[in-house]
């Protein structure tokens, strides 16, 4: 029964024995593999085509390292920085994995740019590839959104202030900007709700959409077929085709190997640092975004006041529309770059402006002595912090934290009496309550000091039945005890 189906080529079916045959008869794995690997590439395999699978590799690496980082990370303003510090300084291989995740984001942007450039220069968006292009554009935006949301999560000075600037820039959008900023931040200011929002976006929402779009992108790519070289007909390829496997696979794997080696060495020798925890009150801190956001950062500096709408909204919107609508606007089947001067010129111009803006931003920082000094100081603070050993965070349930509230000496004296009289025997340390007696926390809001004094001296019948004895103390001690009980919150 099995293996009787003829193969596509009409050749006699190969007998399949052993585990491979067993598995194949149940899963159709061989067909699946064949479909994946026997994709025809018009004009043959080339190194120019390797960037797509490079992106897929980095994406998978980001997913895996991200999941592992979540083993220790806690998304809250109280714990985010401590847990990232713990990952970096205490957990074995933590610094390496965190660096892999952080540098992976940069690598993603670099390879994404190369993938986009190759597609653009080769005119590979032509010939019924509009949806393929659109899904790619959406993925580009989502990758930048991942970089933006992930950047905040360590909650150090750098992360905090870069995101403060980033979310502030959003509020420059007329009419709805302020609302969007508040929606992103979860309030008017940056805080623990901002971390929650960025965390949910970073690990649930955006990845879910990316998974769906990567699947569509690959599906649409296979449906349209590989576009091939620049002199190929984008609709009906005529050149001799070579299958994806083996040569293109090996070329793609060579990029993967390069990425693994490059990122591995970088993460091992120059691990990503964690700076001091975010201090929103630090009025001197000069925020700087990650390198791939520098051009936008510099661009926004030029637009202020009434004309801001042009730079903040009109030009970027126009650019985004022009890029996404490209396959609808450029309908010719001509793919040779030298025959598409307008398209090539526009692309070169945009890249030139972006690089120029980035370099300009760096140049300005270096040549403004005040800024350069402050930036150097910030870097020095980061280095200092990176050298400090990890110190566990004092839990808010701790005694030291509880004693902070006992600034009142009368309440502090009352605490000694509370423990000396064994009130904590039944009511628990700090009046948290036990199986034997109820909690006293918050009782100050229910009873006035006079009422409490009365209850202490003459417990109600119910209290008596529960084992509460009348308290017989000198008036000063009773006052102190009441002050302490009132302070329990």
């Amino acid at each position: 029964m099995h293996s009787t189906r003829k193969s596509e080529s009409g050749a006699p079916p190969l007998p399949q024995a052993g585990f491979r045959g067993w598995l194949n008869r149940r899963t159709g794995l061989d067909n699946l593999l064949r479909t994946a690997l026997d994709e025809p590439i018009p004009g043959g395999a080339r190194f120019a085509y390797i960037f797509g699978s490079g992106l897929l590799f980095i994406f998978i690496s980001q997913v895996i390292t991200g999941i592992f980082l979540a083993l220790y990370y806690v998304p809250s303003a109280d714990h985010a920085h401590t847990t990232v510090d713990y990952i970096t300084k205490a957990v074995t291989a933590g610094s390496f994995l965190r660096s892999l995740h952080a540098y992976g984001a940069s690598a993603m942007v670099v390879v994404l740019f190369l993938h986009l450039t190759q597609t653009y220069v080769y005119g590979a968006y032509k010939g019924r590839r509009e949806l393929l292009w659109l899904s790619g554009c959406a993925l580009f935006g989502l990758v930048l959104a991942m970089a933006f949301t992930g950047y905040l999560l360590p909650w150090d000075q750098r992360a905090y202030f870069a995101t403060a600037v980033g979310t502030n820039a959003v509020s420059e959008i007329p009419w709805i900007g302020e609302s969007i900023k508040r929606l992103m931040r979860g309030g008017t200011e940056m805080g623990t709700l901002t971390i929650s929002r960025f965390f949910v976006a970073h690990i649930f929402l955006i990845p879910a959409v990316i998974f769906a779009l990567v699947a569509s992108h690959i599906f649409l790519f296979r449906k349209a077929g590989a576009a091939g070289p620049i002199n190929e007909d984008p609709f009906h390829p005529k050149q001799k085709a070579e299958l994806f496997y083996p040569r293109q696979v090996l070329m793609d794997l060579s990029l993967t190997a390069l990425l693994i080696i490059g990122l591995g060495l970088l993460c091992f020798f120059v691990p990503v640092q964690l700076g001091p925890p975010a201090n929103p009150a630090d009025a001197q801190y000069i925020p700087r975004p990650e390198w791939y956001y520098l051009p936008i950062f510099q661009w926004l500096k030029y637009w202020h006041g009434s004309g801001a709408i042009i730079g903040v909204l009109v030009i970027p919107t126009f650019l985004v529309i022009a890029i996404t609508a490209l396959p609808f606007l450029d309908r010719s089947i001509e793919r040779r770059p030298w025959k598409r001067p307008a398209a090539m010129g526009a692309y070169a111009f945009v890249v030139f402006v972006l690089v120029g803006l980035g370099l300009r931003s760096q140049y300005l920082d270096r040549n403004d002595s005040g800024v350069a000094q402050q930036l150097a100081k910030q870097r020095a603070e980061e280095d200092d912090y990176a050298r400090k050993p990890f110190e566990p965070q004092l839990s808010s349930a701790s005694l030291a934290a509880a004693n902070v509230t006992l600034a009142d000496p009368l309440a502090a004296k009352g605490k000694v009496i509370f423990e000396g009289q064994s009130c904590n025997a039944c009511h628990g340390d700090g009046g948290v309550g036990t199986a034997a007696a109820p909690a006293l926390v918050g009782i100050g809001t229910k009873f006035s000091p006079d009422q409490l004094a009365e209850l202490f001296k003459h417990p109600t019948a119910k209290m008596n039945a529960g084992g509460m004895p009348p308290i017989d103390l000198p008036p000063d001690d009773l006052k102190a005890l009441i002050a302490y009980v009132e302070s329990l919150k």
């Binding site: 714990h79 291989a93 390496f96 070579e242 299958l243 199986a435």
Partner: protein, 189 residues
């Protein structure tokens, strides 16, 4: 050559004669790629495994010994002395500092012994009753002798002794919690 065999006119089926040799060459290379891929994946998963197994290979929770006081403070005492100790518990990236009352007393041979003040019956704090020279729990009336042995009441065992050590003349104690309502002393987690 494998490369040549891979080339085909678009739409033309692979000549059936070359199918077998092509297949075998391709599967040899395939095996090579698969083995290489497995090797690299295994290599890459080393940091992941080390990262995930960190709490198993290293101590991530720690209970530090708490200082109780100088040995000389207790040498002349004739009855249990209550001391409040600070306990620092490290729990992964956080630590909890709390206070607990303990009694420094002496066993039948006159050696120092530290008792937790938590009643082994239901966990109330047991005060020392000077007049009756006994520990008497205010909750359910369990009584214990000065060295912590059970005398009467609902408790199934005597008061729990804590591990002690001496460092530079300072008495140190390792605070632990014990299961209540059982006759044998049993450390809780």
């Amino acid at each position: 050559m494998v490369e040549d065999a891979g080339h085909l006119e678009s739409g033309t089926p692979i000549p059936s004669g070359s199918r077998l040799s092509l297949e075998s060459r391709r599967s040899f290379l395939g095996a090579l790629v698969a083995v290489g891929g497995l090797f690299v994946s295994a290599l890459l998963s080393v940091p992941l495994i080390r990262f995930a197994l960190f709490p198993l290979l290293r101590r991530t929770t720690d209970l530090k010994d708490s200082p109780v006081g100088a040995l000389t403070d207790f040498s002349s005492s004739t009855e249990p002395v209550m001391r409040t100790i600070q306990i620092e518990q490290v729990d992964g990236w956080r630590k909890v500092v709390s206070e607990k009352a303990v009694y420094v007393t002496k066993d039948s041979q006159g050696k120092l012994r530290v008792l937790t003040s938590i009643c082994p019956h239901l966990g109330c704090t047991v005060p020392w009753n000077k007049e009756r020279s006994q520990f008497i729990c205010p909750c359910h009336g369990a009584t214990f002798s000065p060295d912590g042995a059970r005398v009467s009441g609902p408790s199934l065992r005597g008061m729990d002794t804590l591990e002690t050590s001496v460092q530079d003349g300072q008495l140190q104690v390792r605070f632990q919690y014990f299961r209540q309502l059982v006759s044998d002393k049993e450390v809780i987690g």
